[in-house]
């Protein structure tokens, strides 16, 4: 029988790339990781994702899949143990709705905060805090969005970690903290404590340095 060949093209600091690592590790899938230099993309990456030329790209037995949420669904449907999405169609719809919300609303808002100043930045912070309150409404009293264990939405919500690192790099702490968003803050601690998840977070110091270089100079 042919060996299953799984490759992941990604970058160490990209949240969407790290999502795929979490999904593969939760399923116990062996994979080869290829670190890309986005200023000098490899011919392999361009070959496997000619349309968007972006990471992450998953290659499974020679066939490539791009777009992190699409890849996550593919992983869940291909390796059926330890499901990432819930079984119930309505709950699946909720997980997909909120994952979309994170990618289409939360991430652009987070990107705006790190480059904004003064009044404009304050407006963006108010906006993103409201978004996080909305997410708390979905979490309610659960341990994770996925229930007792990590699921699709927990993995998609990893971008919240990027916001926390960015706020620290900018010398701020008023965007996400225990006082302002206790429910989400609690979830975040449990996420960072999770055995699988914590292996897939960028090394803190290196990450902070990267953000200080990228965003610190605009302050």
């Amino acid at each position: 029988m042919a060996e299953e060949e799984v490759k992941l093209f990604g970058t160490w600091a990209s949240p969407v790339s790290r999502r795929i690592e979490v999904a593969l590790k939760l399923k116990g899938v062996q994979y080869e990781y290829i670190e890309e230099d986005l200023t000098n993309k490899s011919p392999a990456l361009l070959n496997y994702n000619p349309v968007n030329k972006q990471i992450p790209v998953l290659v499974h037995n020679g066939k490539s899949v791009a777009e992190s949420l699409v890849i996550m669904e593919y992983i869940d449907e291909t390796w059926k143990h330890n499901p990432i999405l819930p079984a119930d169609p309505y709950e699946r719809a909720m997980a997909r709705f909120w994952a979309k919300y994170i990618d289409e609303k939360f991430w652009p808002a987070a990107m705006k905060i790190v480059v904004a100043n003064g009044e404009e930045q304050k407006g963006e912070i108010d906006e993103i805090q409201q978004q996080m309150k909305n997410l708390e409404g979905e979490l309610k009293e659960k341990k994770f969005f996925g229930g007792e264990s990590l699921g699709f939405l927990d993995i998609a919500a990893n971008i919240i970690i990027w916001l926390v690192v960015a706020q620290e790099a900018l010398g701020m702490d008023q965007i996400l903290n225990e006082e302002k968003l206790p429910v989400l803050y609690g979830w975040l601690q449990r996420l960072l404590d999770d055995a699988v998840f914590k292996e897939c977070v960028p090394p803190k110091d290196r990450h902070l340095d990267l953000f200080k270089v990228k965003f610190g100079s605009s302050k």
Partner: protein
């Protein structure tokens, strides 16, 4: 209320929509493809119902599907829900890799065709030119896919003679695009450089359950003209 289970699939289905919305029509096509009975509620854009505001408090937009009292928003999320709840006439393919390809193209269409079209409708000058350029590039990719996937035997991206997920997601172009082009004063559709795409659009228009839902051009033009004037008026007054 307990969330919907397979046993509840025969329960009440309600769709909140606007007549002019391509996103709403997509959901209707998915429901009709499966032969699902549903109650349609026409919302008033200037006076959204309490039901809409409580069913979709986050975005306050249509479409919203309400099944057994459980609301779902976002057209692509709704379509996947429909496909997973009612198993007849599948919309997405069965194979995980084929499903991934269908989802990838749906994402591409939303980001590179649907969104920029909406933005081109309500912008002008340099901003609009930028969007139109993006659109033209995206349409080259779409034509490339159409050339690769479609032929005399395979009329639709869903394979064979039946529409599938990608057809439903891209289908709005067969009617809305022309009206938006006219109102926005730009041209993206080009039969000469997009022959396969135009064949596909013609085939989509003829699908019986799609044909009956297509709004007349004049009606759409009148509506989108109002939207454009409204939005540009707001920008000018800033």
């Amino acid at each position: 209320m307990a969330s919907g289970s397979v046993a509840d699939q025969e329960g009440q289905v309600m769709l909140l929509g606007f007549w002019f919305s391509a996103f709403v029509k997509r959901v209707e096509w998915a429901l009709k493809l499966k032969g699902i009975e549903y109650d349609y509620v026409e919302e008033d854009l200037t006076n959204k119902s309490t039901l809409l505001l409580t069913s979709n408090p986050i975005h306050k937009k249509v479409p919203v599907l309400i099944h057994n009292g459980n609301p779902i928003a976002e057209s692509l999320v709704i379509i996947e829900y429909i496909d997973e709840t009612w198993k007849q006439n599948p919309i997405l393919p069965q194979d995980p890799y084929e499903r991934a390809m269908a989802r990838f193209w749906a994402n591409f269409i939303e980001e590179k065709v649907t969104e920029p079209t909406g933005e081109a409708l309500v912008s002008q000058g340099e901003q609009q030119e930028k969007k139109v350029k993006e659109l033209k590039e995206a349409m080259e990719v779409v034509e490339g896919e159409a050339k690769a996937k479609l032929n005399k035997k395979t009329l639709f991206f869903g394979g064979g003679n039946g529409v599938g997920y990608v057809d439903i997601v891209l289908g709005w172009t067969c009617n809305w695009m022309e009206s938006i082009e006219e109102v926005g004063g730009f041209k993206v559709l080009d039969p000469e450089s997009q022959p396969q795409f135009h064949k596909w659009m013609a085939n989509v228009r003829e699908v019986p359950f799609i044909k009956t839902t297509l709004e007349p051009k004049e009606k759409l033009v009148e509506f989108f003209r109002m939207v454009r004037q409204d939005r540009l008026g707001l920008v000018a007054n800033k």
